[in-house]
């Protein structure tokens, strides 16, 4: 059985396409077998909704009279990056106000940051824009303070350098103190475990060799339509064969882009992690074209076949040690209890499985109703073994101060 992108898009246009969510595809393959399921289904949809720190948005605010070249810019008191042309700026999801108390009284609350500004803009709330310039002959103005909404500005583009990590570590804490991490609050002595992947609905985990994902892949992004534009930062897909015969896929990421003006506040939400920082929760869904049986095979793996490594965030992760405490399946994680070092540990997710399911269903609806055609990549992302291993950052003695 072989199927082309073009054939699938023709079927979408004619209203004859068969789309299942990854959950539904798992059930169908179990019931009818791989061969029949692959023959019957054209597209499998996936979804994930969770905190994705490498996210942000860039804007063109329009020119004021007289003109200003924005040297520094703040949106609701959160600094943006203005090192572009006069009235362009980028705002990162984890950026915090300069007067935020941070972790000075630990654990800090981080109640408002870049992710919250993005959410407020998408929710069509008025946002205070302040900028300063240094004054030039062509841009004489030195300061502006105004209120904008998403509709007032020329462009607003969500551009996330790394989203939808293929897989993610399960976080535990082996120390004797409670720790506050981006994986939530972790109680001492393996008191709890957190994980942050939608497992059998997770986009890149359902096409683990990345045979259908690349530059130009059209996706559900933030409630609107977006595109994969590049491999995400730290992209380094790997396959590890586990002692029990299981396969651990991890390391794939995507960089994505989309029109912020067409997104929805339900799917881009500012988040605050006590003791860690602020960020943005992003809803992302990827359609997988069933080009052949092998793609259907991987798209239909269930939680009991998908593994994640368990990592100590008390000592190993912060120190950069590569120790893995064990491997567990998403079925075990979702059951509520995993067993590590002989101890039963209660688990909790950090990414929303109900929202992930809703994204997969929404994408299915968009495709089935002919509103969403698949974007055939102009180039696939590097697959397993096609990227160099990730480098660490080395500390070296620099040149003497003052030397150039």
């Amino acid at each position: 059985m072989e199927r082309t992108w073009e054939e699938i898009n023709e079927k979408i246009k004619k209203g004859k396409v068969v789309v299942l969510t990854a959950e539904e595809a798992i059930a169908l393959v179990r019931e009818k077998g791989l061969k029949e399921a692959a023959a019957r289904v054209d597209v499998v949809t996936t979804g994930t909704f969770g905190t994705m720190c490498s996210s942000g948005a860039y804007f063109n605010f329009g020119h004021a009279r007289p003109r200003i070249k924005m040297y520094k810019v703040w949106l609701n008191n959160v600094p943006g990056y203005a090192g572009f042309a006069a009235v362009d700026a980028f705002l990162g999801a984890t950026q915090l106000p300069e007067d935020d108390p941070l972790n000075s009284i630990h654990p800090g609350a981080f109640s408002y940051g870049g992710g919250h500004v993005i959410h407020d803009l998408v929710a069509r709330k008025p946002v205070t824009l302040r900028a300063i310039g240094y004054g030039t002959d062509c841009y004489p103005r030195k300061e502006i303070r105004t209120v904008i909404t998403l509709d007032d500005i020329n462009q607003a583009v969500l551009f996330n350098p790394r989203n939808a990590y293929q897989n993610y570590s399960v976080a535990v804490n082996t120390t004797n103190r409670t720790i506050y991490t981006y994986m939530g609050v972790l109680k001492p002595r393996l008191g709890n475990a957190t994980y942050s992947t939608s497992g059998q609905l997770s986009p890149l985990l359902k096409d683990p060799y990345l045979r259908t994902v690349g530059i130009g892949t059209r996706i559900f992004l933030g409630g609107g339509v977006g595109y994969v534009v590049w491999q995400g930062t730290q992209h380094c897909p790997t396959l590890k064969e586990l002692p029990d015969g299981g396969k651990l896929f991890s390391g794939g990421t995507v960089a994505v882009i989309g029109d912020l003006k067409k997104m929805h506040p339900r799917w881009l939400v500012g988040v605050s992690y006590i003791g860690y920082g602020a960020s943005l929760a992003v809803g992302l869904g990827l359609p997988i074209p069933i080009l052949n049986e092998e793609i259907m095979y991987w798209a239909s793996r269930g939680d009991e076949e998908l593994y994640a490594p368990v990592i100590d965030y008390g000592e190993d992760y912060p120190q950069g040690n590569s120790r893995v405490l064990g491997y567990v399946t998403y079925a075990q994680l979702k059951s509520g209890i995993i067993k590590i070092e002989g101890k039963e540990i209660p688990t909790a997710p950090l990414s929303s499985y109900p929202r992930a399911r809703e994204i997969a269903l929404t994408l299915k609806d968009w495709i089935t109703s002919g509103r969403f055609l698949l974007g055939k990549p102009v180039e696939l992302l590097p697959s397993i073994g096609e990227t160099p291993p990730l480098k660490g950052l080395q500390e070296k003695a620099g040149e003497e101060e003052g030397e150039k």
Binding site: G50, T194, V269, S335, G336, A348, P349, S352
Partner: protein, 144 residues
């Protein structure tokens, strides 16, 4: 016999009085202190589980109210903003009583107000600020 969980708020002028002692001694109530705190304005807050004869319980509450202590049923102390909650699960591991729990297989976060002891850990931990505290009100009648 009835069993109630309540939040008591003590005005500054009474926090140094042995009020809980009197509640036990004079009204024969069984109390279990789940949480107690005095803030920098010298106002006290206490989360109590009270068990006893209904008549004595009512008289005990009258005694508290006569001292200016406000009484709020615990089941109404903490609320969830259903719009803001995304069912992520960040609260599950830290909720000490299991009042917040995951329903399977839907993986939705459920909130059982009756098991909540108003420790407020979820309020601090929720990334979406979906958990909140109901403001204290003296006019709020105790549950019967």
């Amino acid at each position: 016999m009835i069993l109630q969980r309540v939040i008591l708020r003590f005005p500054a002028q009474v926090v140094d009085r042995p009020i809980i002692y009197n509640l036990i001694k004079k009204y024969d109530l069984v109390v279990n202190i789940l949480k107690a705190n005095i803030n920098i304005q010298k106002e006290g807050t206490m989360v109590l589980e009270i068990q006893g004869d209904p008549t004595q319980y009512a008289r005990g509450l009258e005694y508290l109210q006569s001292l200016g202590v406000s009484i709020q049923p615990l089941s109404q102390a903490v609320f969830r903003d259903e719009e803001a909650c995304t069912h992520c699960g960040a609260c599950i591991g830290v909720c000490p009583t299991g009042a917040l729990y995951l329903e399977r297989p839907s993986m939705e976060v459920k909130f059982d107000e009756n098991r909540c002891v108003a420790c407020l850990i979820c309020v601090k931990v929720c990334p979406y600020k979906a958990m909140g505290v109901v403001a204290a009100s003296n006019s709020l009648a105790p549950v019967d």
